[in-house]
Amino acid sequence: MRYLPHTQDDIESMLKITGHATVDDLFNCIPDYLKTKQSLDIPESLTEWELNAHMEQLASLNIACKTYKCFIGAGSYDHYIPAIIPYLISRSEFMTAYTPYQPEVSQGTLQGIYEFQTMITELLGMDIATASHYDCGTALAEACLIALRQNKKKSYKIAVSSLVHPSHRQIIQTYIHPAGYEMVEIPYTKEGLTDIAALEKMEGIAGIAIQSPNFFGNIENLKAFKSLSDAKDILFIVSFTEALAYGLLKNPGSLGADLVAGEGQSLGIAKSFGGPGLGLLAGTQKQTRNLPGRLIGKTKDANGADGFVLTLATREQHIRREKASSNICSNNGLNAMTAAMYLSTVGKIGIREIAQQNHDKAEYLKESLMKSGFKSAFSTPFFNEFVMKVPNGYEKKRKALIDKKCIFAGIHLEPYYPELKLHYLFCATETISKSDIDHLAKEVQ
């Protein structure tokens, strides 16, 4: 096996030092009755070439060919990834390093993540961003736990918009239930927005979580929710699944968010069948010590040179153990580094232009689909996703488009919102050209 360097001579001379006759004797400290009687029932090893063939065969069973067109989002978006990003992130000094516990030989990771934290605070208009979380759903669940624990009135309920990504609501439920907390869902209006009037009437809640752009792609009036959470004296949490939206939209910080949980997959990270993505978690200065996960700070070395270290570690599980607010240890660091590379590549000019193009294409797609006979479900401003009501029989056509043309056109909303029969969620990003849209419009006519 090419990963195992030991020659028979090596093994024999090492056993002489350890004082064992055979390698199996090294396991004499394990009582025999605990050892397995059966060898591992897994296939024999493949050569690199056999592995390539097997994996390509599996990969080809997924409909994700080079020419495929992705008119779907819902938490995972198709964006251009510049060639320098996979090139740079593959540098093994980034990829094969551990958590930067030894700062003297980890300044690359540390400065890179410090820059990431900085650019995320800039993107979101927040004071502090953590070094990353697993994904938006888990980051949002952690944010909800912060609000619940902090609430002085001992409210045990968190109000979550029904237009927060359905999976994220399920994760929140999983996370908060064992500690005795409860999630209440805020209904949505016929404009496709979170019903603020319904929220106003809710009593005994410890925090509010609103996604914007919401699951339907519509842009929420975050300012109004901020006023309401101030009136109720509770924390206001904002989430998002499309990070590029904040290249164009007013950021959650400027609209008063106390905590922001988001998905950063759009920032140069492959869709990769849903993971690993990038959980973003940010807060106001006041929340610094309540945020879970790693934080990197600037400091000086013994010679007075600038450098970076993991800091405020007393919040974390390895020190605070059972009193830690979260158990997170490994995060999605390499993807945070990828996002930093992406943000520095697109820069101030690029992020605005790409965000604007996403919106332009989505508007054009919507108009085109309407011309093909689809109905707009909501007339609310959106970013790059929107909901359409389709004619009867569309599902069959949609599957045929995937099968025959590698075009994914819309996600059926009925499984998530049973009242939305024949409603589909569409998305267009900068990777979709005008002719792609014209082509789709013709196909679905």
């Binding site: 993107l123 994904d135 888990t138 520095s344």
Partner: protein, 485 residues
């Protein structure tokens, strides 16, 4: 004279991104505008985020220089105890980058994602076989997430049985994530001490296990690198009071093909694909923390769950006793691809050999450094061995000093000051992918440092000297947090 890998070289300074920024630069090839601009209401739009403005070469040089300040497994030996820093095979990266995997949208639909589903199904089967369990979920995103998932299942199991319990037993050799994971489920940790041999004694468990205790969390091999030989007896005691046994499989690299945790009384176990199954640590993640369970806990696995019907694969969500969902989609699929490629490359024999050689390497280091460093628990070890700085105390040299000096010799230091049960712990896990020559070099470096501790302790106090920066002021960082530029 053995030549050590550490030396000096030209290291570049590199400012922060925004210090390099010049107005008007952009490193992105911007797509052409081929549809009309659609302007949103100015009430909704904000200023463009103030990101750095750079050319493509600016970005490339920035990250290339940063990378050169890092130490990775590809740079040199990384004997970090309990972290299993083995070689990360490059073919795994090629596999994960295949268009059909990397570009697959998670909501494509089962019928258009058969390759991904089949890979997940196969990987679950292989992991079940390796661990001796009935079923596996791949959804947890990291080891700690897997622990949380496992504890949620134990919590759900007791709820289903009609009476929730309030406590969980956690030995002093546990990872810090264990008590934190248990707390998230509302369990109070009952901390117990291991015996004088460094392993748990059944009497200790028998004395406190009661019907208000949900179970026990055990790391086996434990964080002292010792096999918990009484595991079966302990499991029987816990089971007799209606509790369950959680196994932390972070140290699975010691026992593949030797012990199957599912056969020795453990009810639920998490694995770290980024430890045992060779996926890169990425400077802190992303990892993947699959959880394996026996029949008792199988109904509580998270959704969605991949199933095989005839020759097709699909996700099912309709499982009444499930703990629910813990990841937005299906977990870290890209990491699963790498681990799957590793298992197929190694095969049954390769995996068993990996464990054997990992244990051989650790015992070889232990015996070779006997007398140089103190062995607080002098017993045959598994894949890692724990020393401490007892012998160096008279020279006022600490574990930290020796760790920092190792950097100058070109080695990443071992895990230090963990496990907490050993004062000044120096915990070495070489892994099976290090050759005898590299290990000999490491042993030589440690011996030289121990000699320097006697002859020239000042040199150790000032270490490291060859790195980009020297010891950092962590007090300043914590007192006056500066978390953004």
């Amino acid at each position: 004279m053995i030549q050590q890998p550490g030396t000096s070289g030209l290291i570049f300074n590199e400012p922060l991104l925004w210090e390099k920024s010049r107005k008007g630069r952009c490193a992105m090839s911007l797509p052409k505008q081929d549809v009309d601009r659609s302007v949103l209401d100015t009430d909704l739009t904000g200023d463009a985020p103030n990101l750095p403005e750079l050319s493509e070469l600016d970005v490339v040089r920035h990250y290339t220089r940063l990378s050169q300040w890092n130490f990775g497994v590809d740079s040199g030996m990384y004997p970090l105890g309990s972290c299993t820093m083995k070689y990360n095979p490059k073919t795994n990266e090629v596999q994960a980058a295949r268009q059909g995997f990397a570009s697959a949208h998670p909501l494509s639909g089962d019928e258009f994602s058969q390759g991904a589903l089949k890979l997940m199904y196969n990987l679950e089967q292989h992991l079940a076989k390796i661990t001796g369990f009935h079923a596996v979920t791949l959804q947890p995103a990291a080891g700690a997430h897997g622990e949380f998932c496992g504890m949620l299942m134990i919590h759900a199991y007791h709820a289903k049985n009609g009476r929730q319990r309030s406590k969980i037993i956690i030995p002093d050799t546990a990872h810090g994530t264990n008590p934190a994971s248990a707390s998230l489920c509302g369990y109070e940790s009952v901390n117990i001490k291991s015996g004088p041999n460094g392993i748990l004694e059944p009497e200790t468990i028998a004395a406190i296990m009661d019907e208000d205790t949900a179970g026990i969390m055990i790391t086996n091999p434990n964080t002292l690198g010792l096999f918990e030989a009484n595991i079966k007896e302990i499991a029987d005691i816990v089971h007799s009071k209606g509790g369950l046994v959680y196994g932390d499989g972070a140290n699975m690299n010691a026992i593949m093909g030797i012990v199957k945790p599912g056969e020795i009384g453990i009810d639920v176990l998490h694995l770290n694909l980024h430890k045992t199954f060779s996926t890169p640590h990425g400077g802190g993640g992303p990892g993947s923390g699959p959880v394996a369970v026996g029949k008792t806990l199988e109904p509580f696995l998270p959704i969605p769950k991949v199933v095989k019907e005839l020759d097709t694969y699909k996700f099912i969500t309709n499982r009444p006793d499930t703990i629910g969902r813990i990841h937005t989609f299906y977990g870290h699929f890209g990491i699963m691809v790498r681990a799957y490629a590793y298992i197929l490359s190694m095969g049954a024999k390769g995996l068993a050999d990996a464990s054997k050689l990992a244990v051989l390497n650790a015992n070889y280091i232990k015996e070779s450094l006997r007398g140089t460093l103190n062995l607080p628990y002098d017993k045959p070890c598994m894949h890692e061995c724990v020393f401490n700085d007892q012998f160096q105390k008279e020279y006022h040299i600490t574990t930290m000093d020796m760790a920092k000096r190792l950097l100058d010799y070109g080695f990443h230091p071992p895990t230090v000051y963990f496990p907490l049960v050993v004062e000044g712990a120096f915990m070495v896990e070489p892994t099976e992918t290090e050759s005898k020559e590299d290990i000999d070099q490491f042993i030589h470096a440690v011996k030289s440092i121990a000699q320097e501790a006697k002859d020239n302790p000042e040199q150790l106090k000032k270490a490291p000297r060859l790195t980009k920066v020297t010891r950092m002021d962590e007090v300043l960082a914590a007192r006056k947090p500066c978390l953004r530029g």
